[in-house]
Subunit: 214 residues, 2 copies
Amino acid sequence: MRIPNHIGVIPDGNRRWSVNKGFSKEKGYNSGLLPGLMLFQLCQKVGVKELTYYGFTTDNTKRPKVQREAFTKACVEAVEMLSHENADLLVVGNNKSPMFPKELLPYTTRKTFGKGGMKVNFLVNYGWEWDLGNLMENDSNNRKLITNCLKTNDISRVDLIIRWGGRRRLSGFLPVQSIYSDFYVIDDYWPEFNKNHFYEALNWYNSQDITLGG
Amino acid sequence: MRIPNHIGVIPDGNRRWSVNKGFSKEKGYNSGLLPGLMLFQLCQKVGVKELTYYGFTTDNTKRPKVQREAFTKACVEAVEMLSHENADLLVVGNNKSPMFPKELLPYTTRKTFGKGGMKVNFLVNYGWEWDLGNLMENDSNNRKLITNCLKTNDISRVDLIIRWGGRRRLSGFLPVQSIYSDFYVIDDYWPEFNKNHFYEALNWYNSQDITLGG
């Protein structure tokens, strides 16, 4: 079976899940923590080399304060949880903004935790405009030069993006690294994660051709 | 019904369709011309304001010469066909490259044909690296500044992308304008286009929420 080198994860649907359960919207984020850990362990098991979680974006921070605080807290806890695993961990996002949680500043250079192994990237206060904002005038059409200028230049091309919660859009997730990503959407909400979702996505990916436009 | 302002079209599957019919791969492109016209007319009818066709990319030009010549010819004919309609037409792509067909140079500034109306963009020898290659050093995270520096700055945000041919990826289609695009995939090949595909995509789009991350 052809395993993607790099999987991107858009863990959407926390708020809708929460409302369906009769809770207020912000209560759902905490229920995304365990899925995040389960997914990490599954990726480790099948030999994925890099995993990128979409934490929250600069657009998401425009939501009501109670939600913003809840998803920020969940991201902090998720990163701390992953730091107890064997991983090469990096938190990436606009950390000069007050929206970036101080607790995550120590993670903004890549560090090896445990025995290391899989590269794990966690996007926190990420914005496509932040990512592209540093591109230099070059007019060279040189891909290497462009990708080197990305603020996310330590994150490689994404092979497979899995989005939970049914929406079929990228919502600004790494626009350059996702140029040729295969995009798999799971209708269940992220807190409803189960390992079959992951294996379904891998099976589907295995059936795709990789042409990169050729 | 909520009609998207701007629809992006990825007309994929011409080669697979051709091979299934017992022809060689490059024969399929010509059968994409009529679908292109039908789609234009449907968009006009329901009041779409802007329509962008994914002609061919810089990556596509690495294919065998016989294919390259066939898809280039089909793009030239498609643009000439659209110039007989009522449209504000623009061909966008790297026209300094020998891969750009000379016949389309007159279309590289937007012109009104007939009574004008819908903005129609046709991407020819388009590459994401070409599009982003002119971004200026600004480090301002200012979206307006970034989008102004895109080579495709005359193309607005895409609301709905429809891809024919079953592949679930963007393949470099306008990475910035497609940040929040809803992405609808039709399994049938582009030469098999029929108007129900279009109405299915519109119905699906109508059922989506538009949050832009909020």
